[in-house]
């Protein structure tokens, strides 16, 4: 199987999965008792009978289900996810495009922190397994993965902001600074491109606590898996061969052990992304960070159904994409898949 074929296969699978997700949201939207327009418009729908009438006709809601499904799909393809009562009836797509970049910022830093922390501690735990280092690392990551992300966020908030006044919270950057001109639409990246370092550092200060709260809840998964697969690999026959060659224990550990153990960490990456993305709902609302997670929370409070379903689809797309990246990474690290 060549790489191109592999990626094409994965892409087709991803499209299929996305279609499945959309079908589920369609079913959910239509499982609301009564007219699904109420779901699309939220509970304020009853206040706007004309709108209900309009949408019922526009989406053929009195027609059979498969025709509705068709219009639902075509609406999605055109980027129509309905209107958000939580945000004063502006289109959900617009809300998402405004908030998603901030969530991506948090997610990026959270992934970097959790992988770096996870790999470093996982390697240490495996290298000195059953020693005191291993035990304290275990206690640390167990506390992390066992705590709900909203709890970690509150603890960090107390420590860093309330007691020590170290890091600012609320918003994505100091409000006195202008948001940089949209180039990539990701503010921190735009700030860098523009050379606007004042904004960048302010944004960095604001992003640390939310992403650290997320990372502290997920890095433990990396430690756990890396440690155990490292211990497995170190018992393998090829590590015995490497030792028989007379290599030092460090060479054996890092070159023959770690490279193989990292394969199992790659398979984890999509799980980590899922956790991080979910966590933004709590963390952003606690730190008042203007990302998509906070929007989900607001949408929940007012039962903004269009917003919930729209963000569900976006979450799914992010996860599907990260799965795709993981699959490609997997091909890179494991020659057997690349060539077999």
């Amino acid at each position: 199987m060549n790489i191109a074929g592999f990626i094409i296969r994965r892409l087709l699978l991803a499209i299929f999965v996305l279609l499945g997700v959309v079908t589920i949201t369609f079913i959910l939207a239509h499982s609301i008792p009564g007219n699904p327009v109420y779901a699309w418009l939220g509970r304020d729908a009853s206040a706007h009978p004309a709108l209900v009438q309009l949408y019922t006709e526009k989406y053929h809601l009195n027609d059979p289900l498969y025709i509705q499904y068709y219009y639902y799909l075509s609406g999605l393809v055109q980027g129509n996810l309905g209107y958000s009562p939580a945000k004063g009836f502006i289109p959900v797509t617009q809300v998402i495009s405004e908030t998603l970049p901030y969530t991506l910022q948090i997610a990026f830093f959270a992934i970097v922190i959790s992988i770096v922390l996870g790999v470093v501690l996982g390697v240490l735990a495996a290298r000195f397994h059953h020693g005191p280092a291993d035990k304290s690392i275990r206690a640390f990551y167990l506390a992390g993965i066992s705590s709900p992300s909203f709890f970690i966020a509150l603890v960090l908030l107390i420590i860093f902001t309330i007691f020590f006044h170290l890091l600012p919270t609320g918003n994505a950057a100091s409000l006195s600074l202008a948001v940089p001109r949209a180039i990539t639409h990701i503010p921190m990246l735009d700030a860098l491109l523009e050379g606007n370092f004042t904004y960048f550092f302010s944004a960095l200060q604001h992003v640390i606590l939310p992403s650290l709260s997320l990372a502290l809840g997920t890095f433990g998964v990396v430690v756990r898996v890396l440690r155990s697969s490292m211990l497995d690999v170190m018992r393998s026959n090829y590590v015995r061969t490497a030792r028989a060659k007379g290599l030092t224990e460090n060479t054996v550990f890092f070159k023959h052990g770690l490279r193989n153990a990292m394969i199992s960490v790659v398979t984890l990456s999509s799980l980590i992304v899922t956790w991080l993305i979910t966590g933004t709902i709590f963390v952003e609302s606690i730190f008042s960070y203007p990302g998509m997670g906070q929007y989900v929370y607001q949408a929940l409070l007012v039962q903004d159904y269009a917003g919930i379903l729209g963000t569900t689809i976006v979450f799914a797309i992010i996860i599907i994409l990260s799965n795709l990246v993981a699959d490609i990474l997997y091909v890179v690290v494991d020659p057997q898949i690349r060539l077999g």
């Binding site: 699978l13 167990l142 993965i145 705590s147 909203f150 107390i158 899922t274 709902i281 919930i308």
Partner: protein, 303 residues
């Protein structure tokens, strides 16, 4: 190295180990005892389960098993710090936080265990069947689980909750619906592993049909792996359920829940930081208990 060691290990003491099931159960207990982490986890889990049984019975028979009535306001001063009268302090309405945490225990523990049991049973049977049957069933299962893997459990539960309306029962149903696919996937994988074992073929040659093979040979042999996975997974359900309650989708006020308490007390974090911290710590403690127990079982039984 291990392979060589094993190859050289003498065939001794074969008779002494594991004669039958009750002894195997004792072996699990003794392995928990010998593993410090598993022991701590076992104790924590036991405390949580006993508390929830006692609380549930107390609520059913209307017997007071909490220091104060958890719903009654002004049993103490508002926002009192922890003391001997009020172990975890009181909240903004003067309710006893400790009593509220206690009374929420059967809810959180019960929902988590129910969700896991449902996922375990449905997933095992579906996955095992697909693994053996192959073909269309297998393909369908894999694609369905692909779809479920793409949606975060919490987000899907949120969407279902909005469709069905909030509440414990609806939340439990939502979690059950989304929780079984990974188990089916795992069961399928394990089934494929043992499907190559000759004892499955030998059973076919003994005239056993597919259901006899699934229930007589396959499920008992993959059960341990699934159970260990499940025991590690209980913590995840607790976390997600707490998240749903934090978002206000689970139990409705004035009935307390851990996640809901963190959410409603978080506004007092500037003045009384311990208020949201205690329910949060209890959630973490429960998850740690199940994680330690699951890890310990994995270490001792899978080795």
């Amino acid at each position: 190295m291990l392979t060589a060691d094993r190859a050289d290990e003498p065939e001794e003491d074969i008779v002494a180990s594991n004669p039958n099931r009750s002894v195997r159960f004792k072996a699990i207990l003794s392995s928990i005892r010998s593993n410090k982490g598993a022991l701590i986890g076992f104790v924590i889990v036991a405390i949580f389960i006993i508390t929830s049984i006692v609380e549930a019975l107390g609520q059913y028979f209307k017997v007071k098993v909490t220091p104060y009535n958890p719903l009654q306001i002004s049993v103490g001063p508002n926002l009192a710090p922890p003391s001997f009268q009020h172990l975890f302090g009181t909240d903004q309405l003067g309710r006893d936080v400790f009593s509220r945490i206690l009374v929420a225990t059967p809810n959180d523990v019960g929902v988590s265990l129910a969700v896991i049991s449902f996922a375990l049973i449905v997933g095992a049977v579906v996955g095992c069947y697909a693994g053996f049957h192959g073909g269309l069933w297998d393909e369908a299962l894999m694609r369905i689980t692909d779809v479920f893997f793409a949606i975060p459990a919490l987000v899907l539960a949120m969407a279902i909750a909005l469709a069905l309306g909030p509440g414990i029962t609806n939340m439990t149903v939502a979690l059950m619906v989304i929780w079984w696919p990974p188990y089916a996937r795992l069961a399928r994988g394990e089934t494929l592993k043992i499907a190559h074992q000759n004892y499955i073929e030998a059973a076919k040659l003994s005239g056993s049909g597919i259901s006899k093979i699934i229930f007589g040979h396959a499920l008992p042999n993959i059960a341990l792996t699934l159970l260990i996975y499940a025991s590690l997974d209980v913590g995840t359900v607790i976390l997600v359920y707490a998240g749903l309650n934090f978002l206000g989708l689970g139990i409705q006020p004035p009935h307390p829940d851990w996640g809901e308490m963190v959410s409603s007390y978080k506004d007092y974090i500037l003045t009384d930081p311990y208020l949201p911290l205690f329910p949060g710590l209890i959630i973490a403690l429960g998850v740690i208990g199940f994680s330690l127990l699951g890890d310990g079982l994995k270490d001792t039984l899978m080795a």
